[in-house]
């Protein structure tokens, strides 16, 4: 395996780290949800929706990781030649979604947890809680976009 290939794989690993943020975020929201459901089991569905929101960062990370791995041919088919420059570029492409994902997932989890507290008191305001949490996700979406544009314009 060449250095270029290894760098590209490292890029995929970096992108997948966005899952750290989602894990933290979904966890924080889940804790809050348990507390609310203890009081009112009927709120399971609503709290679950909010808890799912910070899960997307991990998926974006997975998405970019898969794109990078399939670009260098690691998934099925033979491994392609990757120059050191291309490998480094793919490493850079994995960085935005991975790094932004960690913090935005975590922060979105906290916003979602607060949203869960909101619906504990006012169940009809679910949409507003969701929007507040989704505001955080914007930055994960932007990072995904940057990662994708970098990835799609790197030529092997």
């Amino acid at each position: 395996m060449s250095l270029g290939q290894a760098l590209a794989i490292f890029g995929a690993a970096l992108a997948a780290l966005a899952g750290v943020g989602s894990a933290l975020g979904v966890g924080v929201a889940g804790e809050a949800a348990n507390g609310v459901v203890a009081e009112d089991p009927n709120k399971f569905g609503q709290t679950l929706v909010l808890q799912a929101l910070p899960g997307t960062q991990g998926i974006y990370g997975l998405l970019v990781a898969f794109l990078i791995l399939s670009k260098i041919g690691l998934l099925g088919g033979g491994l392609l030649d990757v120059s050191v420059e291309s490998g480094l570029s793919l490493l850079a492409a994995g960085a935005p979604v991975g790094i932004v994902g960690i913090w935005s997932g975590w922060a979105q989890g906290k916003a979602a947890a607060a949203g869960i507290q909101l619906i504990a008191k006012r169940p009809s305001e679910l949409a507003k809680g969701m929007i507040y949490a989704a505001m955080v996700e914007t930055y994960a979406v932007l990072a995904l976009l940057v990662s994708f544009l970098m990835y799609s314009n790197v030529k092997l």
Binding site: A52, L142, L144
Partner: protein, 648 residues
């Protein structure tokens, strides 16, 4: 929405209220402020029937809990969306009769439920007694035996950690005739029986207490442990049988159940009518009420009031007076279909009475945005199919109906975008994109998303201008909106015009931007006062917020890519298992689970982000919200929908 004032005779009050409630088109206004007005306060008092309302409320709670219990045992499935069955007024009356039969039925059932609760608590008592006796199972002496002529009989417990052998030795040192048996042990305690001579009792007890021995007695029990356990088991069986028998009696016929439901609803209607009194003012012989009534319902209301010899007056709201908001379908017949999308507006906040209802304007954008972010033929068809099925099968009412209809539109849009972008469960079934594949043309779709955003934002600004012009603020509309159009389009042309629009567009853009900037600064200089004259410079800085708003629409591309690529990832994972029967089974499993997850997450994401683009970017340009919903005094029933209009 107009203000209605009514004065009528006390004797007609119930009839008038009942009539208004049936019409369901008047929202009663609270008038407590008049009581603080000296002119009013000297002749009127608040007409309150709190006692009657509270009595009806508690009776209703009883009927509701009976219905709950009954529904638990008759195996009727609780539907996802409860649909109130339509019942004509005549049927409603004939089911209910004078209410006596139903009331008797409720009392009878309440009695049975009380009996069942008693039995249930006896059962719990038996179970806990069984649990406390079981560890003593090997103790054979009668439980009420504490002494013989010379021997003391003691039972007790030791902590699980205590050394029982050593305790035995110490006890035997204290007396030469002592018998200690460890009957059993669980995680917390050891169960001990102790026999000793009465004369040595104190010495022995001192010895064993040093090890944590605590005497435990069986109050009120006689006979041996096994006798007692046998008796309890027998009783438990009886109790369970009684329980089953009673539960059998909870099941009532569907007809009786319907009567119960109608009765509950009748109580709701009566309670609401009693509560409506809160909003009425009264003298000894007359009552006074005020309320809001929509224009189209006025005639009916006046007819009713005339029939009961009331004095009434209807006036238009004063300038600046807030009226409740009642959203109506658009008058434009091409936009009437957008009515259900008001669910999205309602989730944010209703427009104030003087504001434009934004729903017909943004509905098409909402649906386009949702479709772009979800873009897949199969997902779209599934979403549309599921929502269509739910609408037909469960016939939900109100908000649920509106949301489902909106999602139905979104599903269709998703399928259309799936055709344009080429996706059927991702790349499961290869579909040639009718327009282009966003994966290969990311930059183009990014630009397309942003242009769509510019159109969306400009329409939002246009609404603001429309409202300003309607209020006579033509100059403000020019300063806040039209000149910004010129400025922003100029900037756009300056940056991209030469390369993408036509040669020389950059120069034109530059001129437009410069003129625009000068006018924006100039406007404030003309409009403002004092330091406010320089506000225009600050406003120019607001360009960055337009930039941020426009870039925010890049999520249309990003989330669209996310749905498509994740679907492809799952397909790829499925194909990796290999060929043959195992491969096919694994592929189907992975595809079903993967696509279900992707569908759920991305449908949720598209819903939330399409809403966000309306709430933050679009509404930010003009919308205030915060209107109070129109809440007419009506028959707000829970189980059946009483249809007043007789069928012709």
């Amino acid at each position: 929405m107009n203000k209605l004032s009514v004065i009528g005779l006390e004797s007609e009050k119930e009839a008038v209220l009942a009539g208004l409630q049936k019409l369901g088109t008047v929202q009663l206004c609270d008038q407590s402020d008049k009581l603080t007005d000296a002119d009013w306060a000297s002749i009127i008092h608040k007409d309150s029937e709190e006692d009657r309302a509270a009595r009806l409320e508690s009776e209703l709670a009883g009927v509701d809990s009976v219905l709950d219990t009954v529904s638990r045992y008759d195996g009727e499935k609780k539907p996802l969306f409860f649909h109130r069955q339509a019942v004509s007024e005549k049927e409603f009356g004939s089911i209910l009769g004078d209410g006596e039969a139903v009331r008797r039925e409720v009392n009878e059932l309440e009695g049975k439920i009380r009996q069942w609760n008693d039995i249930k608590s006896e059962e719990n008592g038996i179970v806990s007694q069984q649990a406390s006796l079981t560890p003593w199972a090997s103790y054979t002496l009668p439980l009420d035996l504490t002494e013989t002529r010379t021997v003391r009989v003691v039972t007790g417990v030791l902590p699980a950690t205590a050394d029982a052998e050593e305790m035995k030795r110490k006890a035997e040192e204290a007396s030469d005739a002592v018998e200690i048996q460890i009957l059993g042990q669980d995680g917390e305690q050891q169960y001990v029986s102790l026999l000793c001579m009465k004369q040595d009792e104190d010495a022995v007890m001192d010895a064993v207490k040093a090890y944590g021995f605590t005497p435990a007695s069986f109050k009120g029990l006689s006979g041996t442990v096994s006798d007692n356990l046998g008796r309890l088991a027998g009783r438990l069986e009886e109790v369970k049988k009684e329980e089953k028998e009673l539960e059998g009696q909870f099941v009532i016929s569907p007809k009786e159940k319907e009567a119960l439901r109608c009765y509950a609803d009748e109580l709701v209607v009566q309670r609401d009518r009693a509560r409506a009194g809160e909003n009425l003012l009264a003298t000894k012989k007359a009552f006074f009420l005020e309320g809001w009534v929509p224009e189209e319902a006025q005639a009916e209301v006046l007819k009713l009031l005339d029939a009961h010899d009331c004095w009434s007056e209807i006036r238009e709201p004063e300038k600046g007076e807030e009226t409740p908001t009642l959203l109506k379908p658009s008058e434009n017949k091409w936009l009437r279909w957008t009515y259900p999308v008001r669910a999205i507006t309602e989730l944010y906040s209703l427009p104030k009475s003087y504001e434009v209802d934004p729903t017909p304007i943004f509905a098409i954008f909402y649906i386009i945005f949702f479709g772009m972010m979800f873009a897949d033929i199969a997902y779209g068809l599934i979403l549309a199919g599921l929502t269509f099925f739910a609408l037909k099968k469960y016939k939900p009412e109100g908000m649920a109906n509106r949301l489902l209809t909106t999602l139905l539109y979104c599903g269709i849009s998703t399928a259309i975008w799936g055709v344009l972008f080429g996706g059927f469960f991702g790349d499961l079934v290869p579909v040639k994109p009718m327009w282009m594949n966003p994966l290969d043309n990311a930059m183009f779709i990014l630009a397309f998303s942003c242009i769509l955003g510019v159109v969306h934002l400009f329409i939002g600004m246009g609404v603001k201008a429309y409202m300003q012009i309607k209020n006579g603020q033509v100059f403000d509309a020019f300063c806040d909106v039209f000149i910004w159009y010129i400025f922003l389009i100029g900037l756009g042309l300056l940056l991209f015009g030469d390369n993408y629009v036509f040669q020389g567009a950059g120069e034109l853009g530059r001129d437009m931007a410069i003129i625009g900037a000068i006018v924006i600064v100039g406007c404030e200089f003309y409009r403002g006062k004092g330091i406010g004259k320089l506000l225009g410079l600050w406003n120019l800085y607001g360009t960055t917020s337009y930039l941020a708003d426009i870039l925010s629409y890049s999520r249309l591309l990003a989330l669209g890519l996310a749905s498509a690529v994740i679907a492809q990832v799952f397909n790829m994972l499925g194909r990796m298992v290999g060929k043959g029967v195992v491969g096919i089974i694994a592929f189907i499993l992975i595809a079903v689970v993967g696509h279900t997850v992707n569908f759920a997450i991305n449908a949720l994401g598209s819903f939330v982000h399409a809403s966000r683009l309306q709430y933050v970017e679009f509404f930010g340009k003009f919308y205030e919200g915060g209107g109070a919903p129109f809440k007419p005094f009506t028959q707000d029933t829970k189980y059946v929908n009483i249809v007043n209009k007789e069928e012709k």
